[in-house]
């Protein structure tokens, strides 16, 4: 028998043996992820109790998570799940808990307060949410009193809406070559300037739809060296409101990681616009915006859907200006809960500490998206 065959046979035998061992005596974490035996340990401390709850939420073991709570008599399992994953389709509905952090705040022999930071993986990236949970001693074990937030439910109803909608019919191949097509919307960059930060170069600005029709917009920028050679081209990706109604203004932010402003001679901006079918609803009010100074500088407020249509995903874009009215930063946040009619939903946009002191005013816009249909 050749050496190669001996090696192949040895590897195959070792694999079979390891599979058998793994099946009969699995590692607890692997079993938990595979949906079998859970990895939950003893809830002998307040932090351990919260960690166990986090593991159960991560494994989507809703029944076990609900059963472990100390105040479960106050709400049903369905309500508990809805508190974490929403009743209406939104970013949380399809999210999974990727990780969590547990931080003790206060503890006595009989109860404790713990900060429970959850990091959810969503289609637009990680979204964090924090709950301060109360943990109580029950014999030798600790149990979490879940800080249940009753979700707003809109009663079943029919809401008549009467809103504008634009549809587009383009030219066909049967038209002669001189025939007109529908004109692309006229858009204009009304402000743009670069900001150098440790992460790289950022281009900030604002774009206006000057036309009377809705526009799908995006902005790309090409950095040119001092001898006019292209360095790099980047787009605004989602740091822009892509759909603009007539006379609507969106901020944009374009990132150039690892590029230094000193290497740049000029910038070639390329705003793009095209006609898209669109509607003028929903109308979202931004309420009670407040700039919070450093440390932890932020802009927070609430979104209120003034229309009858549910907005499943809301993207909040904030433009921050200095005293002279120049854009100093563009921040954004995806709101992980659907915007129901007349139901406020909070938002909080972080402002970099070094820029926070320059911020004098802000303007906030909201882009909304609907699941299962066009906007």
């Amino acid at each position: 028998m050749s050496k190669g065959r001996v090696l192949a046979f040895t590897l195959m035998a070792a694999t079979v043996i390891l599979v058998v061992i793994g099946t009969l005596w699995p590692v607890s974490t692997a079993a938990a992820y595979a949906g079998g035996e859970n990895v939950i340990g003893s809830s002998s401390t307040p932090q351990a109790a919260v960690r166990n709850l986090g593991d159960e939420i991560r494994a989507q073991a809703w029944q076990k998570a609900y059963a472990s709570l100390g105040n479960k008599a106050k709400f049903t399992q369905s309500e508990f799940k809805g508190d974490l994953t929403s009743y209406y389709p939104d970013l949380r509905t399809t999210a999974t808990l990727n990780s969590f952090d547990v931080q003790p705040l206060h503890a006595t022999d009989t109860d404790a307060d713990v900060r429970f930071e959850m990091h959810w993986s969503t289609v637009v990236g990680t979204i964090n949410s924090t709950r301060n949970v109360h943990v109580v001693r029950n014999g030798s074990e600790w149990q979490v009193d879940w800080p249940f937030k009753k979700q707003t439910i809109v009663p079943p109803q029919v809401i008549p809406v009467n809103y504008l909608r634009w549809d587009v019919i383009n030219r066909t191949s049967g038209d002669d070559w001189g025939a007109q097509d529908v004109e692309a919307p006229h858009v204009r960059i009304i402000d743009m300037h670069p900001v150098q930060r440790a992460e790289g170069l950022f281009l900030l600005g604002e774009l206006i739809n000057e036309d009377v029709v809705p526009a799908y917009v995006s902005v790309t920028a090409t950095l040119l060296s001092k001898d006019q050679k292209p360095i790099e081209t980047e787009g605004s990706f989602d740091e822009i409101s892509h759909q603009l109604l007539p006379k609507q203004v969106t901020p944009f932010l374009i990132r150039f990681p690892d590029v230094s402003l000193s290497d740049v001679g000029s910038v070639r901006m390329n705003p793009f616009s095209t006609l898209v079918p669109a509607s003028a609803d929903p109308v979202i009010e931004v309420q009670n915006e407040k700039l919070n100074p450093a440390p932890d500088a932020s802009l927070n407020g609430e979104l209120l859907n003034q229309s009858g249509e549910i907005a499943n995903v809301a993207h909040v874009l904030a433009t921050f200006y200095d005293k002279s009215g120049q854009v100093v930063w563009v921040g954004d946040q995806y709101v992980d809960h659907a915007l129901l009619p007349q139901t406020p939903v909070a938002f909080d946009i972080h402002i970099p500490e070094d820029l926070a002191r320059k911020v004098s005013s802000q303007r906030t816009t909201v882009a909304t998206y609907r699941f299962g249909g066009d906007q």
Binding site: D211, L245, K247, I284
Partner: protein, 287 residues
Amino acid sequence: MRLRFAMLISGLLAGTPIAFAQATWNIPKSIQAGAAFSIDCPGTGSGTLYIVGPGQAIKRDIQLGQTIWFPAGSLYSAGHYTVVLTSQSSSQTGALDVAPASKPSELAFIAKPSRLPVALHDAITGTVYVFDSYQNLITQPMPVAFELSNPSAPAQTSTVQTKNGAAWTEMNSTPREGKDTFVARVGDVTSTRVVGQVPGDPCSLKVSAKPSGNEIDLVTDPVRDCSGNAVSDGTIVTFTELYNGTKSSVDVPLKKDVAATTMPAHRGATISVASGVVLGNQIRWEQ
């Protein structure tokens, strides 16, 4: 296939000495595209006549010593043609120009933009290319009449002579919104385009407020541009309320010429309105 044919002709031209030098070789110097024509072919016996040009090639077996007739529509692509007559022992070459037909048959009319704000000077351009019935560009100068008309304003007209087959003009957009008809005419051939003239930016904004429980009902006066046209529905009007260090704002699209919304009622709040770069009045809420 045409390329091979042209190469064959080139080979014939290069490799064969010119013959029939003394015979009558009568080719028209120029014909109009699509016109009938004839070629007198000298000599005796049989031969082959080739006519090769930029868009066409004709090969015909002939009896030498006859006049060869080509009916109307035989040569229709304008350009410079080479005519070659070959027999078993020799060949003869000549040239023939096919000019575009003088009667225009089709206009390619490019009008831009198809949509623009009212009351702009020289903002509409119209360019015309004149073609004959065989799609040849007519390079002979001819007058093109442009007319931009709107039911609410006198028509703008201009007549421009074509140069190298093209003519262009500029027109103003009219003060009234609507669809303008832009017509280009050469002889009895016309081409029509539609140019949408849309309202411009709001000329002024005025908002009024009235209490409604814990809220304020806000509504603008009908929003018009500086020519008096109602600003297009869907145009965004931004309402902003400043109160006690907080700010509330809402982007509302115009519906039936007005924008309306509700905002929280706070005593001492300042409410303002804007659309694009146009600012409206401010209201200080004291109720």
